[in-house]
């Protein structure tokens, strides 16, 4: 496949130390890049701040899941025990929020966990079968001893030459294009 035909996914910049990666990430954050990411063999403390990452939105999915679970549990028990087929049990009211609470609470946890799991997958755009980075030969080192910053061509600030020069000036030892 010739270079002119293939689309470029982005630029991959290799770094040798977490410190250099972190400083580069801070610069990119301050320059206002949007579609870029950092890959490291282990979690680097402070990288979230250096990248300007906000708190994950997964919490909202679990919250909505939990609230749905609680409501669903309460409504289900009310419908079954008080509306659709009322049976007197132990002289208790047909429906009481107290007896309905434990199952509703468990549904809260179940749907809250579903919200967290599927919300995470949704936000991560997972599962996917392939990613352009996986074709890149040196990218495997991200699980060994190298650090990478990838800027996508889809980033509004991306300019082929200027971005490459920028990454080099930030201390990258090797900047290469990644094919789509």
């Amino acid at each position: 496949m010739s270079e002119s035909v293939s689309k470029v996914y982005g630029l991959i910049a290799e770094f040798e130390t977490p410190a250099a990666t972190m400083r580069a990430a801070e610069q990119l954050r301050d320059l206002g890049f949007q579609r870029w990411d950092v890959f490291s063999p282990y979690p680097v403390h402070g990288m979230d701040q250096a990248m300007g990452l906000k708190n994950s939105k997964v919490g909202w999915f679990s919250f909505i899941g939990g609230a749905t679970g609680y409501t669903l549990g309460m409504v289900m028990i009310w419908w079954m025990n008080a509306a659709d087929y009322p049976i007197v049990v132990g002289g208790k009211p047909f429906f009481s929020p107290f007896s309905a609470f434990p199952p509703s609470y468990e549904l809260t946890i179940l749907l809250g966990a579903f919200g967290a799991l599927f919300g995470m997958l949704f936000l991560n755009r997972l599962p996917r079968l392939h990613h352009p980075l996986l074709k890149h030969r040196r990218f495997a080192l991200a699980s060994h001893d190298r650090f990478f910053i990838v800027i996508e061509t889809a980033d509004p600030k991306y300019q082929p030459e200027a971005t490459r020069k920028l990454l080099e000036s930030l201390g990258s030892t090797r900047v290469e294009p990644v094919e789509e």
Partner: protein, 427 residues
């Protein structure tokens, strides 16, 4: 460029000098109110005093618990806040013991079981012998205060000794003390909650009552601890050793205890509701009459739902403007909880609004005296354990030392170290 975001210029330290007369004013106002209450209605005074005593006992025991848990978990983050918790725990002696004296004197009037002529004829009381006898009552009180005082004093003494030499053996000693102490703490707190508060209706029984009091106590203590930490950060006293994560962790614990309290109280209610035995339900039936019904709802929504939703977000746990009212709210709700436990004995038809001033007066007197004692202790000692080996960890610094996990090597650790060096880029 540094690895951390540039910190904004520090605001000027908080000036608390205009609050200096607060403790004395509280004591003055409180003493007048308490004397008035004592003259007008000694029995009402007894219950009001008991309500407020149990409220402030929560603070002392909650702080003792936090100190012991710090040692038991070998925690690093809570080192800066441990010293004032030690002072709070030491309020148990002599102040809380002094506050217990009116209850000890009025006990025969306050506790119905002391008026039962023949304990053996009353099965509910007979089953609780010999705990529910006068010697039992007073012996347990002495035992509880002795154990709390001993634990609080010993833990603070070791902590202060470490301020001198910084030796790790003090940490180990405090840990050993806490390991045994936590059992004694659980037993004595349960005994105290049962005899002093649950004993108001001796016919009732709930095995969760001790945990219930404990959960509310620690919750309210965490609200107080958050507030004190925030004030000490603003005044600059603890600012050099605090990190953002202290507030996050105290907030998380507060959130956890919000849920824990609700879980315990719900379980207590639910089990009684479900079993539907008259000898158990009467306690809650009484508390569903008159305005007590609404007090119960205030507990459900105010003690649980409101703080639960307010602290659900991570970032809000770090916002002082958001958390300060919430810290004050823990005091209001814990008071409501104590009143819900104590006041229905004398006022079965609803919360005694016309006697609320007496509760407030007791709170002002006890609060003022405790505040003064606390400030005196706090001023007399270093504001945080200055030579605790884990202090740097609390401050967010990485301490490089070969550990059994790294096999005696410093590998990878120095790589991370490069991340915070201002001009180290390549190895």
């Amino acid at each position: 460029m540094s690895a951390h975001a540039p910190s904004p210029p520090l605001p000027p330290p908080l000036d608390l000098s205009r609050w200096r007369s607060l403790p004395n004013r509280l004591i003055g106002i409180g003493a007048v109110g308490v004397l008035l209450g004592l003259v007008l209605n000694p029995l009402q005074f007894g219950y009001s005093w008991l309500t407020v005593f149990m409220f402030f006992l929560s603070l002392g025991l909650g702080a003792l618990f936090l100190v012991m848990v710090h040692h038991l978990f070998d925690a690093g983050w809570s080192v800066p806040i441990r010293r004032f918790c030690e002072h709070l725990a030491n309020l148990v002696f002599p102040w809380l013991l002094i506050f217990f004296l009116p209850i000890a004197l009025l006990a025969p009037k306050l506790y119905g079981w002391m008026q039962v002529a023949d304990p053996h004829a009353d099965h509910a009381l007979h089953a609780k012998l010999p705990l529910f006898t006068r010697p039992g009552f007073y012996l347990v009180a002495v035992l509880c205060f002795a154990i709390w005082t001993w634990l609080a004093r010993r833990l603070r003494a070791a902590s202060l000794a470490q301020d001198q030499d910084g030796a790790a053996r003090h940490t180990l000693r405090m840990r050993r003390l806490s390991a045994g102490g936590i059992f004694l703490f659980a037993l004595t707190l349960t005994l105290a909650a049962i005899l002093w508060m649950k004993g108001l209706m001796y016919e009732w029984f709930s095995t969760m009552y001790g945990v219930y009091y404990f959960a509310g106590s620690v919750w309210m203590t965490l609200g107080t601890v958050y507030f004190i930490t925030m004030v000490l950060k603003r005044t600059g006293t603890l600012a050099p050793v605090l990190h953002e994560h202290q507030f996050y962790f105290i907030g998380s614990l507060m959130f956890a205890f919000t849920v824990f309290y609700a879980y315990i109280h719900f379980s207590q209610y639910f089990i009684i509701w479900n079993a539907n035995l008259p000898e158990e339900t009467f306690w809650y039936v009484l508390r569903e009459k008159g305005t007590w019904w609404y007090v119960g709802l205030v507990l459900i929504f105010g003690h649980f739902f409101l703080p639960f939703l307010a602290m659900l977000r991570i970032d809000l746990k770090l916002s002082f403007a958001w958390m300060t009212p919430l810290c004050a709210w823990t005091w209001v709700m814990h008071y409501v909880d104590m009143a819900f436990n104590v006041h229905p004995v004398l006022h079965p038809n609803g919360y005694p609004f016309h006697w609320a001033w007496l509760d407030l007066a007791c709170a002002a007197l006890m609060g003022g005296l405790l505040l003064r004692a606390f400030l005196k202790e706090f001023a007399a000692h270093p504001p945080y354990p200055v030579k605790d080996p884990r202090l740097s960890e609390a401050m967010g610094y990485v301490v490089v030392h070969p550990s059994p996990i790294s096999g005696g090597d410093l590998d990878e650790v120095d790589e991370l170290n490069g991340a915070v060096e201002p001009n180290g880029g390549t190895r």
